[in-house]
Amino acid sequence: MSRILTFSKALNEALHQEMEQDEKVFIIGEDVAKMGGDFGITSGIWKRWPNRAYDTALSESAIVGLACGAAVCGLRPVAEVMFADFIGVCYDQVVNNAAKLCYMYNGQASAQLVVRAVTGGGIRCAYQHSQCIEPWLMNVPGLVVVAPATPYEAKGLLVSAIRSNNPVIFLEHKGLYNTKGEVPEELYSLPLYQAHLEREGTDITLVAGMTMLNFAQRAADELAKEGLSCEIINPRTLCPLDKDAILNSVAKTGRLVIIQEGPKFMGYGAEVGSMVSEALFEYLKAPIRRVTSLDTPVPFAPVLEDYVLPQYPDVLKACREVMAF
């Protein structure tokens, strides 16, 4: 039976249901236990499992380090570092420890943990609370970076992240927490490393995840009125990326527009674009386009932040240009 839930509630439900069925799962982070998390994602867990929910000091390296050690002992830590920008202070634990433990242990053990973090801009929190930090983590073999776009994905992918034997950085876009969607009551999981074909189309492939998926869907609707057929691919897992899903789509449409929040230069769209242009050189009917943020920090004032972030009209413009080429 499925009902309409918010993205936040879907995440919360995933945590409750996984805590229920695997006692090796525990949560740890700042204010995640008694208060239920800064954004309420872990609410109710401490009440039900007081010995499996831990509030910590402001010590992100300790949080992730502890999670690594506990994971190697067979536990399944779900750590929260609040804003993803804070991964900066525990970056070493993520890229030099968690990411490499499976390799260092020859597969005998691995950092089977989840680090939940709130990514992205839009709520006027400026420089160090608004970044899309995905690219910080995508050139690091051993890491898995997951980025759900809907409540349904939020629950199903978080469940898979918790069950995964790899270190998963689970990115929750703050702009999605209050979005609503159908979510099955029962426990289910969605596969990692698989993109989702959101919509079939024949003229342009739009690659877009998290909040950008909404831009893609709006654009597809609007362009449909102009007789243009967009196919939409939502990566779901940013790294390792489901290359085939993207390649199969572009092989069909011959056109690609990547919609990505965060600075353009070295954003994940760069890899998508290179990968596609290398593999589908003869299939491409037009240059690939990337719709992204400007290459600047994220400022506070709404008019400034909006100027920096990708805007919906940019998507339409890019699609029309690609078609007009």
């Binding site: 700042e30 204010d31 008694k34 208060m35 800064d38 509030d55 910590t56 000091a57 402001l58 010590s59 992100e60 390296s61 300790a62 920008d85 804070f86 900066g88 202070v89 709520i123 006027r124 929190c125 400026a126 420089y127 160090q128 609370h129 400007l294 290459d295 600047t296 920090p297 400022p299 506070f300 004032a301 709404p302 008019v303 400034l304 932040e305 909006d306 100027y307 920096v308």
Partner: protein, 328 residues
């Protein structure tokens, strides 16, 4: 030694200014005029005003996320409306509206601004203190940091280096009992956080952060030591934030009665009582001060409200010191 009447009156006015400023910010944050998150320092006025009363204009100041008061007091009065404008995200803001509540900096008075990563300025402050020594000046560096922030590894690297090199730093640990919802006792092993500095052989004091007459002498001792080459001091100011962590936080994690008990220790009331009983100040004098400050802050708000939004294209400026990045 007690403060002179003049000084205490002045500092009382400073505290009233902070209280007033915060309540106005809260009002316009609650009604949606101010975007983003706001962290209020109501209840902590004595700590902020006391520290700023001792620091010089040339001392390096690193506020934290709950330091509107320290920021206002550090700036030239003529620039204070621009602080409100910054919080209101306006073009006339001290930083053109690009920073907002957590990021107001004013290099003209060496308010170095806050980097919203807790613990970050604690190591950045090593550099301003280092520069004072390198340039043979006696400017000190004062770093505001909360009790929770003490959990960050950066704090250790900073205290360890400052102690080894005897850098002129004041670690102003504002212990308001909580890090968001987490009480100090659940994130730190010490009875008093100040004793953490014992592990680095750094002089430290526990100070009543609600009493300016306790704050000021402690800060004077610490700054004197630092200016004389005696190295860093860690001061733990015991105080309390009346509101939640951010404006809007119901603070359900607080035990019943706790807030009320602390309100009895209201730093403003405490100083008012002293002024009335020990310095022969009259109620009406205090009311005049309050009225003057109220008008003053109302002026800041008017200025902020009347100010234009920033020019969007300014968002692409100053990414680099010498080259431009692509704008729209």
């Amino acid at each position: 030694m007690a403060l002179s009447k003049e000084r205490l009156v002045k500092i009382y006015e400073d505290m009233v200014l902070i209280r007033r400023f915060e309540l106005e910010v809260e009002k316009y944050s609650k009604n949606g005029t101010i975007p983003g998150f706001i962290h209020l320092g109501v209840g902590q006025e004595a700590t902020q005003a006391g520290i700023l009363a001792v620091l010089r204009k040339t001392d390096y100041k690193f506020p934290d996320h709950r330091s509107h008061g320290a920021i206002v007091l550090s700036s030239d009065p003529k620039d204070r409306p621009r602080i409100m404008a910054e919080i209101f995200a306006k073009k006339t803001g001290l930083n053109g509206g690009r920073g907002g509540s957590m990021h107001v900096n004013d290099l003209t008075v060496r308010n170095m601004g806050f980097n919203a990563i807790e613990g970050s300025v604690v190591v950045t402050g090593l550099g301003t203190a280092f520069a004072s020594v390198y340039n043979h000046t006696d400017d000190v560096t004062a770093i505001f940091m909360g009790d929770g922030t003490l959990g960050e590894g950066a704090c250790h690297e900073s205290l360890n280096m400052a102690a080894t090199w005897k850098l002129p730093i004041l670690y102003c640990v504002v212990n308001n009992q909580y890090a968001i919802s987490t009480p100090v006792s659940e994130s730190h092993p010490q009875k008093q956080l100040a004793t953490w500095a014992d592990g680095y052989c750094v002089p430290n004091e526990v100070v009543d952060g609600n009493d300016v007459e306790a704050v000021i002498p402690a800060v004077e001792r610490a700054t004197a030591r630092a200016r004389a080459g005696g190295g860093p001091t860690l001061l733990e100011f015991m105080t309390y934030r009346w509101q939640g962590h951010f404006s809007g936080d119901p603070a359900a994690y607080r035990p019943a009665g706790e807030l009320e008990r602390w309100k009895e220790k209201d730093p403003l009331k405490l100083t008012e009582r002293r002024l009335l009983s020990e310095h022969g100040v009259r109620e009406t004098d205090l009311e005049q001060i309050q009225a003057r400050v109220e008008a003053e802050v109302a002026g800041y708000v008017q200025f902020a409200l009347a100010s234009p939004d920033p020019d969007p294209a300014d968002a692409a400026k100053h990414v680099y010191a010498d080259i431009e990045v692509e704008a729209r």
